[in-house]
Symmetry: C2
Subunit: 204 residues, 2 copies
């Protein structure tokens, strides 16, 4: 279906959807035991993948840990404050970035055959991978909420340990980790303050 047949693009989405995605959504620190079906993880990827990235590089890689065995491999590397909730969540997602993403550009960015060579410098490749996989992390978190899931993103883990345990011998490096499932209100922080427009933005 053509987009314009489905909706008019210049209208805001419904208030309830804005609340679910942004204004009323909360990072969850405790999880119900309701499982997340594999179909839903695939649907989540299929939304995330459409978010824009530089030269369509989509450098993020997603490791969905759903089995008790896989989750037990991750737990020792989590910061103490993050371990219990990570074990409780039905799914842990390790979001990484592939430093060798340029190898995919002949397929992903076909109209610029030389694009692969733009990232020959490892520092430039790393910066592009990190920025764009983090952008994709943002898409992933909001796509999960769009699908009715809750998220709990975390940076508190031993990145070298996670690299060695899950990405040894590959060009993928861990970026951050997300608990995924259906959250409860247990251990919910009060909503913390945000910077005012004037403190974070300016119109010139």
């Amino acid at each position: 279906m053509a987009f314009d047949a489905l909706t008019v693009r210049d209208r805001p989405i419904a208030d309830a959807a804005v609340a679910q995605l942004f204004t009323e959504a909360r990072t969850r620190n405790a999880w119900s035991d309701r499982p997340v079906a594999e179909d839903l993880l695939r649907r989540l990827y299929d939304l995330t993948k459409f978010g824009p990235t530089a030269v369509n590089a989509t450098p993020a890689r997603f490791l969905f840990l759903t089995s008790p065995e896989a989750k037990a491999r991750l737990a020792p590397f989590m910061a103490d404050a993050n371990r219990e909730k990570t074990l409780q969540a039905p799914v842990n997602v390790i979001i990484g970035h592939d430093l060798a993403f340029a190898d995919t550009l002949p397929v992903l960015f076909p109209h610029a055959p030389g694009a692969k060579d733009w990232f020959a410098d490892p520092a430039a490749a790393r910066e592009t991978a990190f920025r764009n996989a983090s952008l994709q992390g943002g898409y992933f978190l909001l796509a999960a909420r769009a699908l009715g899931l809750d998220v709990g993103p975390m940076s508190g883990f031993d990145a070298e340990g996670v690299k060695a345990e899950f990405f040894a011998g590959t060009t993928v490096e861990p970026n951050f980790i997300v608990n995924l499932g259906y959250g409860t209100d247990e251990n919910l922080f009060p909503r913390s303050p945000r910077l005012s427009f004037e403190d974070a933005a300016k119109i010139l």
Copy 2:
């Protein structure tokens, strides 16, 4: 209004909203002359700010260039392929990250009075600022679409030049730049391929 009074959180948002945010949305390369009111820019910030970040640091800073004078200051630093569309878009947004974000943590993360000290190492502060401002960049792009705007994000610009022109003497560094407004179909790329689930993800 309490969230649960507004909607049930575990249901997907409407198909039309999913299309507007993800599956049918496109990066725009040409722009109508329809302006974007300041109120809408403030609303956009007010959605973006709620996205989760590590220790609620929200390190992204947003410079909205709307005047011909401000846009003319940016144009010389854009890559040749990005200059014309950047001048055409009604708003250019420079998204930066504040390397001194830790100074805001006593306000933004009040329940952990020592949080400021966790980022005393400049390399750790830089990594946290870059990752989380990029995450916020993802929230920003989807929030814009949620409000009916189109986006055109770009990394192709002279970052040192933009730093010197817009952030001299501050702790803010440019991350990426977004054209914002109401796009047209002119110069629209065909939708490029995406990696399959099997190529980008794994379930363990």
